[in-house]
Amino acid sequence: MKPTKSIVRATIALLTGALAFGISAPAFAASTTDATINIGSLYEPQNLDNTGGGGQGVTEALNGNVYESLFKLNDSGKLTNLLAKSYKISADGLTYTITLRSGVKFHSGKALTSDDVKFSLSKVTAADSLSARKSAFTVVSSVATPDANTVVIKLSNRSISLIYNLSYVWILNSAATDFKTKADGTGPYTFGNWVHGSTIKLDRFAGYWGPKAKNKSVVFHYFTDATALNNALLTGAVDVITSVQSPDALASFKGTKFKITNGKSTTKLLLVFNDRVAPFNNVLVRKAVSSAIDDAKLLKSIWGNYGQVIGSMVPPTDPWYINLNKVNPYNVTLAKKLLAKAGLAKGFTFTLDTPNYDPHPAAAAFIKSELAKVGITVNINVITADEWYTRVFKKTDYVATLQEHVNDRDVVWYGNPDFYWGYNNQDVTAWVNQAEQATSAAKQTTLLKKVNRKIAEDAASDWIYLYPQIVVASSKVSGYPLNGLNSQFFAYNIVKK
């Protein structure tokens, strides 16, 4: 139907039919395996390419559902083989030989081969790649495909995270050309259609190599307004909300019709100091500020009884987590002493660049009132996400800012002195590099625990709290992921009564 005709028909249909139109109940799906699962989300993808700036939404909708990787990070954070049937590591740790699972087909019908894996890796490492994992693959020196089922990856240095990093590389059809608006993966769902600004539909793939999806199709419904999203669940228009961002809304989901689950999150709210500039180039000042803010109180005021204070960058789902809340405890007297020791007994004034979206403005107001108690004056400067990228992130032209960091295992960024927070400790940089080249997971964990403790002792940033991961669903559905690590949301096990 041509657009103009469609508009005219639509208008006429509405004007002529609206008054005469009777009100009827919406159609309801029948049996379990024929069910359509409606998922509500605030994160519509920007495009479908996870190496082309697709954003958090494309991971949520397509990762593990439409596209698959060689390895899978499951909902509890454990790595398992997916498109890789098995793999071997050479004695020097520099060669990975991966055997592919046989009988895997793309939705278009083409069989998966090692060339597709090589192509997919090259897309992540390409010059124009915007993949958040690009830098993790600089260690890859070559990728060979001796036969259709074998991939040999050679490294310039050991990389203990290689298998983990490969779980983020979607295996694409090397014959495909458009990755922004089309998707041809090997996952349990084919990409149905995308009504921009509204929905993405996925349909069960009959030719899937593994256990078939337990529902017929999945529709992601996108909202820009959290209240509209909550209303959709209340009225049955969606069955599950992937991540509730407003705890106030939870009161409306009480009762037996809904289930609220509190899963594990990897998203941290940070008060980021620019460690390069005064006064935050002084560790005493950073520690004083960290001790002057009651993180637990702020968490409670924003999230009620959800979420967790962790005292560092590492969430409990990372293997190198340690509870470091006692390193910079909330203690106003201690904060004042540290300030005096730093020669700032009378306090000081600084500007806090605050992104204009929740929860940053509320957190900034709280921080301002807490720091006033130790004589520090905070000027809150509310900025757009765009200004944050341009001025704070790229130019590092700021003194302090608030930001949420969503990924797991991202403590390693403290080993990069050029990163926007400018934390520069040679020991930490060395430990991060050594951890990556460790010969065992135990050694890696030991080194990264040292990093974790050191950055906490230096108060490199103030890690205010770990967000909760709240999923709310109709009690008619089950089998949905509770943790949604790194924004992924596997839909294939969801069933509806």
Partner: protein
């Protein structure tokens, strides 16, 4: 013979006015297209930022700038935009990779029925109610309508939307709280159900202000000399109003209608947000957040076109209803 010459003179005047009015429409459109190109680029920030994560490297930032074209000189971007306008092809979004013209068309399939539906419904309510308020101006009914319409103007449109959602979707469960069917207008019944509350929201707010205009225009006519003269010559009140009052009252109201329609079209974004409708407004809001220049330019150009055209049509109808305008300088310049 004399009559024939009179008709041809009138026709000449009309076509002359039409030519000048069309020329002014095109000139406004040309000026607007230049202005909106510049305004979009005056927005602080870079469209490349929408594609980046908080852990991007400098090479990735440069790659994103190349991808969205923000590294191309401004004059080159402008020439490209002019070329696109010539063919009415707004190109592809650098961020989503979508064809902008097709995307705008699919969004108009929601925003146009939403706006027109609300407009027509408001008109059906406002004209009789406004007339009644004027005719019974001194009675309790006239005062009540006057006060209610004043109250209606004061209510924000999103609040009306929230209340209607609460009552008809959450409490009674009669209509959906938001969203639009997966297959769009192919599911006509569901599509209309989805639009009923949004249309009602717009109609309630718009009918309040339109009622005020109709009431005010009718009151002017009721107190006019020509109605008094018609009555003095023996015409009944109804006949005097029908023969002489209606046209006179309609002219100023039509002018307001053109503006109201354009304002509602632009303002539909609020209603679309409340009801999670994938209309033109929500496309624009997202595009602005992402600095998606191609989409912003395309949407703003189409919106400008709609606003200018609705003004043009309102002028045209006004002149048909009130031929006196043709004879006045003001009428020519309008």
């Amino acid at each position: 013979m004399i009559e024939l010459r009179g008709r041809s003179e009138r026709f000449g005047e009309r076509s002359d006015w039409l030519r000048r009015r069309l020329a002014s429409l095109l000139a406004s459109l040309a000026a607007a297209s230049i202005l909106l190109f510049l305004v979009v680029r005056l927005l602080p920030g870079d469209p490349a930022n929408a594609l980046l994560s908080a852990e991007s490297t400098p090479e990735q930032i440069a790659a994103a700038r190349r991808l969205v074209g923000s590294d191309v000189p401004l004059q080159q971007q402008f020439l490209h935009w002019l070329g696109q306008l010539g063919t009415l092809d707004f190109g592809e979004s650098f961020i989503s990779g979508l064809d902008v013209r097709a995307e705008i068309a699919s969004r108009l399939a929601i925003t146009v029925p939403l706006t027109l539906g609300g407009f027509v419904l408001a008109l059906f309510v406002a004209v009789p109610v406004g007339y009644l308020a004027a005719a019974r101006a001194r009675s309790w009914l006239g005062v009540l309508i006057g006060n209610l319409s004043q109250f209606g103007i004061a209510i924000p449109v999103f609040w009306v939307g929230i209340v209607l959602t609460f009552v008809f979707a959450l409490r009674l469960g009669w209509l959906p709280a938001g969203g639009f069917p997966l297959d769009g207008w192919s599911e006509r019944g569901e599509a209309m159900r989805s639009l009923l509350l949004p249309v009602l929201t717009i109609a309630i707010v718009m009918s309040a202000s339109l009622t005020r205009y109709v009431r005010s225009a009718t009151l002017d006519v009721i107190g006019s000399d020509f109605i008094r003269t018609a009555r003095a010559q023996g015409a009944s009140y109804g006949r005097a109003m029908w023969q002489h009052g209606l046209r006179n009252a309609a002219a100023p109201v039509i002018s307001v209608l053109g503006i109201e329609l354009a304002t509602t079209f632009i303002g539909a974004v609020v209603v679309e947000q409340v009801f999670a409708l994938p209309g033109l407004g929500s496309l624009l809001v997202r595009a602005i957040a992402q600095h998606d220049y191609q989409v912003i330019q395309g949407v703003l150009f189409v919106s400008t076109l709609v606003v200018l055209c609705s003004g043009f049509v309102a002028d045209l109808i006004q002149r048909l209803v009130d031929p006196r305008l043709a004879a006045t300088r003001a009428g020519h310049a309008r």
